[in-house]
Subunit: 179 residues, 2 copies
Amino acid sequence: MPKGGNEVTRILGIDPGSQVTGYGIIDMAGPRATHVANGSIRVRDEELGAKLRAIFEKIRAIAGDFQPNEVSVERLFMHRNADSALKLGQARGAAIVACLTQSLPIYEYTPTEIKQAIVGKGNAAKAQVQHMIKVLLCLKEAPQADAADALAIALGHGYRREGLLRMPGVRGIRGGRFI
Amino acid sequence: MPKGGNEVTRILGIDPGSQVTGYGIIDMAGPRATHVANGSIRVRDEELGAKLRAIFEKIRAIAGDFQPNEVSVERLFMHRNADSALKLGQARGAAIVACLTQSLPIYEYTPTEIKQAIVGKGNAAKAQVQHMIKVLLCLKEAPQADAADALAIALGHGYRREGLLRMPGVRGIRGGRFI
């Protein structure tokens, strides 16, 4: 991972979900992080094909519009059950493939790593993440929970790539050009 | 789902997996099924990005080369554990999105429905599926297990769309054009 120096690196954070996928974009210039955009893709009541298509299309459009340099995605280990893990996996697969089609390098972090980096506590509550994102990115109000999680995923990666912290067990996955 | 009559409908069957994804293509002309191609995409030792990219690219290439009219994908409910379900979901998401980018209508069936349709027994062993696929498609030898499963998924859908059998709980998912 190249060190950014004072060069700006734009990071797209994604919190995939089978019902709501949060996304957040920040610019890192050395240790300084600036908020660019955030939002969520809601696919609660749609059937599988429409859900996956919406996630794939929207993430592709966001990557096309905002031209991030790197992507950071949440990596989950623990699931309530196998059925919800399968659904989450499908959504995550669609989001990752959307980034791969744009030749973006993708990194993944566990929620514990991200919470540790942003809140200083691996088991922090969602509201604490929302609060710290508001403070760290100088926002007027806290973003919606899924978007705040996505910004935290982007910011945690930004801190790590600038050498501002060490996260255990971080694994980078790098996609090549393929469309 | 339009009735085919003697018109030829080309069906791509996919058996997604996090290590091996089988595929099989058949032509249905009324009740007559003809084998077109089969094979498997092996991504056992690669990292996640490379795996999903390989599945997405290869399925897109197969759909581009063979121009199927419809896609049939295995739908799993039961998993050994949540971690393997997440991995399978990611592979399945990549394969489905690849078909959606080609605007193909996608149908899904459980393994039980497919085995019931092809072998007459919902809990048939893999070797029985391989044998019946060899017999029903007049092949000189039985295809490799994942490819045979994919051909069975294509053939089960072919039988159903021609009104040759009734499968319980079948649900169609239809993708729109989006690239």
